[in-house]
Symmetry: C2
């Protein structure tokens, strides 16, 4: 089953384009035997890079695209003039049945808009959600949505729970993922209507996940739950706040160890352990945020990813493609729909308490 899996790559995306993407494919090729790649982008540039990366050349096929989408292009504009770009073609290869998943380090808004147009949303979902894999004291948690949706109602939050759990199961291997809704406190009456309604729905439903109730910001790094559910505004702010803080810490550690001869000697002695620590906390280690809710697997890599990190995003796409991720979501969405219909035929239970 794992033979001949094909991953479609937007080879022009990201801050560095083919000079990082092609070496990234080479790294992934070494780690993921049996996977082949369709590289979309400028033929000349790609062949030049492939000549330097025989490991990538052996498992890749180049598909020429004349144009690429700029990193700062508006999504609406990208939609209008996107046809024929490397990003568009990378996603279209999924619909054409040529590839099982697509990976792009390109413009996030454009990737979302174009993926939605080409692949359409699965079931009755409205917009894709972006999931972040967040390093924690206990492993890696999935946090979603981290930026696709500025506002999310209770139904969407429940969908995020289902999709996040299926993602965590497929990529991070948890058996029955624990799920929490991000809130400002753990008591039932805390927060706004959307989180309280989603909380009430998840408590009652029989889904393939272990709902644990509300969690707070401090719980994310603790790894209290496998899946942290939140609206895209809060999730985006939380993720970027953490990224900013991680950079601050990293700078502080560096300047601390440069602050005098004793500290420098200490840093030298501890350098191996420090390197390991930085690796453990590195967000790039868990690069690769799938756009969930589409009829197809599309993975967004950080724009600034290096080759190692882009290879991690490819692994996420491969893990999802090889798992029964999509079937699991479908199954749970059917249960959700059934549960809702059942609720509606029974008499209404009354509104939310004030």
């Amino acid at each position: 089953m794992s033979q001949n899996l094909v991953i479609s790559i937007d080879a022009m995306g990201g801050d560095h384009g083919p000079s990082v993407i092609v070496p990234g494919v080479a790294v992934a090729a070494g780690r993921l035997p049996g996977v082949r790649f369709l590289l979309h982008g400028d033929e000349t540039a790609l062949n030049a890079e492939l000549a330097r990366c025989p490991a990538a050349r052996a498992v890749s096929e180049v598909r020429h695209s004349d144009r690429a989408i700029a990193m700062d292009e508006k999504p609406a504009q990208a939609l209008r003039r996107g046809k024929g770009t490397s990003l568009w073609n990378a996603v279209e290869a999924i619909r054409e049945g040529e590839a099982s998943a697509a990976v792009s380090a390109g413009n996030t808004g454009a990737l979302m808009a174009i993926s939605k147009l080409i692949l359409r949303m699965s079931a009755n979902m409205e917009r894709p959600a972006i999931v972040a894999s967040w390093p924690t004291m206990r492993g890696v948690s999935a946090v979603l949505d981290v930026g696709a949706n500025v506002e999310s109602d209770a139904d969407q939050l429940v969908e995020f729970a289902i999709m996040g759990a299926a993602f965590h199961h497929a990529v991070h291997g948890s058996d029955k993922p624990t799920v929490g809704i991000l809130n400002v406190g753990s008591e039932d009456q805390k927060g706004h209507d959307e989180v309280r309604e989603a909380h009430a729905m998840l408590k009652d439903m029989d889904l393939d996940l272990d709902y644990q109730g509300f969690v707070e910001g401090t719980d994310i790094a603790k790894g209290t739950v496998d899946v942290v559910v939140t609206d895209g505004f809060t999730g985006n702010v939380a993720l970027k706040t953490a990224e900013g803080l991680a950079r601050f810490f990293s700078n502080e550690i560096k300047s601390t160890f440069m602050s005098g001869p004793l500290a420098m000697a200490g840093a030298l002695l501890a350098s191996g352990a420090l390197k390991k620590m930085r690796h453990r906390l590195d967000p790039g280690r868990v690069n690769g945020g799938p756009l969930l809710g589409l009829n197809g697997i599309v993975v967004k890599s950080h724009g600034g990813a290096d080759a190692q990190s882009f290879a991690s995003a490819i692994r996420v796409a491969v893990d999802l493609a090889r798992s029964d991720f999509s079937a699991e979501i479908e199954r749970n969405l059917q249960r959700l729909t059934a549960a809702k219909e059942k609720c509606e035929t029974v008499q209404p239970e009354g509104g939310a308490a004030e």
Copy 2:
């Protein structure tokens, strides 16, 4: 002017009560000559602690309260049965004109509800906002609201900007504080209606602050602006996410340096520099979040604060009381009201763009 300033203390609040609060007053007394304290709480317990802290005893007067509010008591319940508790009495001393400010490490919800009832809101503000002093690469930024308001409309966000700027000026000494609204991107069209409306209002108004537009989560630790404005839900999640991450880093550093003999030797050599770093990143260093918007100065300390940290919260109260903080807010709120009236007499400029 700075002579005989009196600060009212809820000496029973916090996780440790008088055993930390009284030593905290002693530390503050050493740092803040000319300040006197009213200690509200159980007379016997307080006198026992004061006997051990002559520096505190010399500048304190004990006011007996029979009861205290529990840390987990619901705000509504605290309001009903709060009269006569140490927290209530500490706040009431402001209204009675006996003290210029109150400090409590007690139950946040109860402190807000009781302060609002006793002191009332200034001008036409609805609910207090809580401001956090956040260590950044460039100093300390004020982030608000971090939990008092679950939802905030555009008018409230503008009020947060005004109050945050006055706070940063009074406590952190910035001349004309820079202000940004927290959002998921920096472009004008990003985010939901509330942030876009507040953005439009702040761009147009002539206030004692330097409005810089939208900022993102990564900008908080960078210290891009002095004042970060956000609704209480997002602010609370961002703050707690950062606190969780800070603890995670701190644990990682410790376990990294215990990971082998070389690393341990390195840690020993670098211990002075590491201690300095931890101090710099310690959220307790900037403990003390005032409840803004009240007719009076009430400062919330972390419940788990130690004596040093409680003394920092006292310093915040003293700095605010000695500055023209309240007058500055009043002045800016008048300008805000005037600007709004002017807007309403001119023809409406049309709704928000889609």
